[in-house]
């Protein structure tokens, strides 16, 4: 698994993808810091993190689109699937590599918080709450993107599919609001990423929300393993 993580991290930086992702993350988060904090001379980073939530959803498909599709296209999946590595180890390694890249991007916000802390406290509980909330949501999008990438040989199709999934995830709250049947509306709301993420931003660490996100990771990693395994049995 460590070999897979190292290989994936190397792949991000041997193509423009990794640089575009990190540059996008750093530039936009810098702009958001300027617009939300520096102009108004405030240390409250909640507005910045709120914008980063949307930015993460837009940039994450860049990280996941090639994870499995490129292996299929280059026929290197044959190498991975005939190596003495378990399918779950292989898929989890890819998931962790993308997650690590995301965390590198996200870590810039901690530096911003440290800079702001020189002048006044940025409200560390809120900062860590936002940081962890974004990590949980990002992980879920990565797991979904990884699964979609395993369905196709085309990076473009994988990216478009992941964007569609992201839009669907964002619209769950909207659908839920328009459904007149209570239990359906509640059921849909319980799947809302944004709803659960919002509680983290308040500095509240709800175990139920953590379990929800871990379950999303587990389900989509499992489905990706099944897709790879299905190829053997077809």
């Amino acid at each position: 698994m460590i070999a897979i993580i190292k290989r994936e991290l190397k792949a991000y930086f041997s193509a423009p993808t990794g640089y575009i992702f990190l540059a996008g993350f750093f530039i936009f988060s810098g702009v958001f810091l300027y617009l939300c904090n520096l102009i108004y001379a405030t240390a409250d980073m909640s507005e910045l993190y709120s914008l980063l939530f949307t930015l993460s959803l837009l940039l994450l498909p860049l990280l996941t689109m090639r994870l499995m599709s490129e292996e299929k296209k280059q026929k290197t999946d044959q190498l991975l699937l005939t190596s003495p590595v378990s399918l779950s180890g292989l898929v989890f390694g890819k998931f962790l590599a993308a997650f690590l890249m995301y965390m590198i991007g996200l870590s810039i916000t901690l530096i911003y918080a440290l800079v702001l802390a020189v002048y006044t406290s940025p409200g560390w509980a809120m900062v860590f709450g936002n940081y962890i909330g974004l990590a949980f949501v990002g992980g879920a999008i990565i797991a979904i993107g990884l699964f979609i990438s395993s369905l196709t040989e085309s990076q473009v199709v994988a990216a478009i599919g992941t964007y569609a999934a992201v839009i669907l995830v964002l619209m769950i709250d909207l659908f839920a609001a328009y459904i007149p049947i209570d239990f359906l509306s509640t059921a849909l709301m319980s799947l809302s990423f944004f709803n659960r993420y919002s509680e983290f931003t308040l500095g509240l660490f709800n175990l139920e929300h953590m379990i929800f996100f871990f379950s999303v990771y587990a389900v989509f990693i499992f489905l990706t393993v099944r897709i790879l395994d299905k190829k053997r049995w077809n």
């Binding site: 290989r7 792949a11 041997s14 290197t76 699937l81 005939t82 003495p84 077809n234």
Partner: protein, 313 residues
């Protein structure tokens, strides 16, 4: 040792591999021969755990590929038809990745150096794979199969797309690897298997149609009922003598190949050996037999015969 028993693979109603069984002994180089689409790659993919079989089983050194795939895969080095290379990596990075992927325990630097020297890629060790020639890419593919020193090598059309010089080099390399490994080599190129392999398994339309060494196959299929002979004497007398031999059903003169001597092909009924009777009659008539040869089939003839393509033509 590789043991394949009653292996089948279905894709819907199509049987890509149909109940094939064979064994490859330790230190043997087996040629897996068949026309395109015969089921060679599917069989190899099952052996390496890339595909599952619909029925039957495959064992690598006694380990069932389906029951214990990770242990079985540790025993195998696999070079697919298209080498599985990452173009964005250097050869060094790639082989290092394979080393980690296979969880090798051999000393890394010396093991990789040994492989590079064996497949002659030391001079491109630090170059990006995407910048290598087809021949070098094939060698790097072979190098990755050798990482971890697996006892079994499965090579799917390893010389496809190479120039003649590279083909000879790769063949020589495979031949030398056969001294320490059990090798299955698939090909549809006949001279390749005859030059490299100890034994040949011929597969056609998913079925195993022949198993033996090249000489055995030739002998089995040609038998002794077809002869080419050179006899000194009068052409017409020779012809009438040959046609008078019991069970002979076709005689054809090939012309005067030496002064006063003619070449003939003599074909008897299948399973009938006419050599003794021919010798006896010629000696009675005082006609010297200068040359006699069973018409052994070339490997190409065998292949066409077994795969039915010769009949189609």
């Amino acid at each position: 040792m590789i043991e394949v028993q009653s292996l089948s693979k279905r894709y819907g109603s199509n049987k890509a591999v149909d109940n094939i069984s064979f064994t490859v002994n330790d230190g043997e180089i087996l040629g897996f021969l068949g026309p395109n689409g015969a089921g060679k790659t599917t069989t190899m993919n099952i052996l390496t755990g890339y595909l599952s079989s619909s029925s039957g089983n495959a064992k690598i050194n006694g380990i069932d590929v389906l029951e214990d795939p990770i242990r079985a895969k540790k025993e195998i080095g696999y070079l697919p038809e298209q080498p599985p290379l990452y173009p964005d990596m250097t050869v060094k990075e790639y082989l290092s990745f394979i080393y980690d992927l296979k969880k090798c325990t051999l000393p890394k630097d010396s093991h990789l150096a040994e492989i590079c020297s064996l497949v002659k890629i030391e001079n491109v060790y630090t170059r990006l794979i995407k910048n290598l020639s087809k021949g070098y890419k094939q060698r790097v593919g072979l190098a990755q199969a050798l990482v971890g020193n697996p006892r079994v090598l499965i090579l799917d059309e390893p010389t496809v797309g190479l120039d003649p010089k590279q083909i000879i080099e790769i063949r020589t390399l495979i031949k030398s690897l056969g001294k320490n490994h059990t090798v299955i080599l698939s090909s549809h190129i006949l001279p390749e298997v005859s030059a490299v392999c100890d034994r040949i398994v011929v597969i056609n339309k998913g079925k195993l149609v022949a198993d033996g060494n090249p000489e055995e196959l030739s002998k089995t299929l040609s038998a002794d009922h077809r002869l080419t002979v050179r006899i000194e004497g009068n052409e017409r007398n020779i012809y009438s003598l040959l046609t008078s031999i019991p069970n002979v059903n076709a005689v054809r003169c090939l012309g005067e190949k030496e002064a006063g001597a003619f070449d003939f092909t003599v074909e008897a009924d299948e399973g009938k050996d006419i050599r003794r009777e021919l010798f006896k009659r010629l000696s009675e008539r005082g006609m010297p037999l200068l040359y006699s040869k069973s018409m052994e089939m070339s490997l190409e003839d065998i292949f066409l015969n077994l795969t039915g393509e010769g009949q189609a033509e």
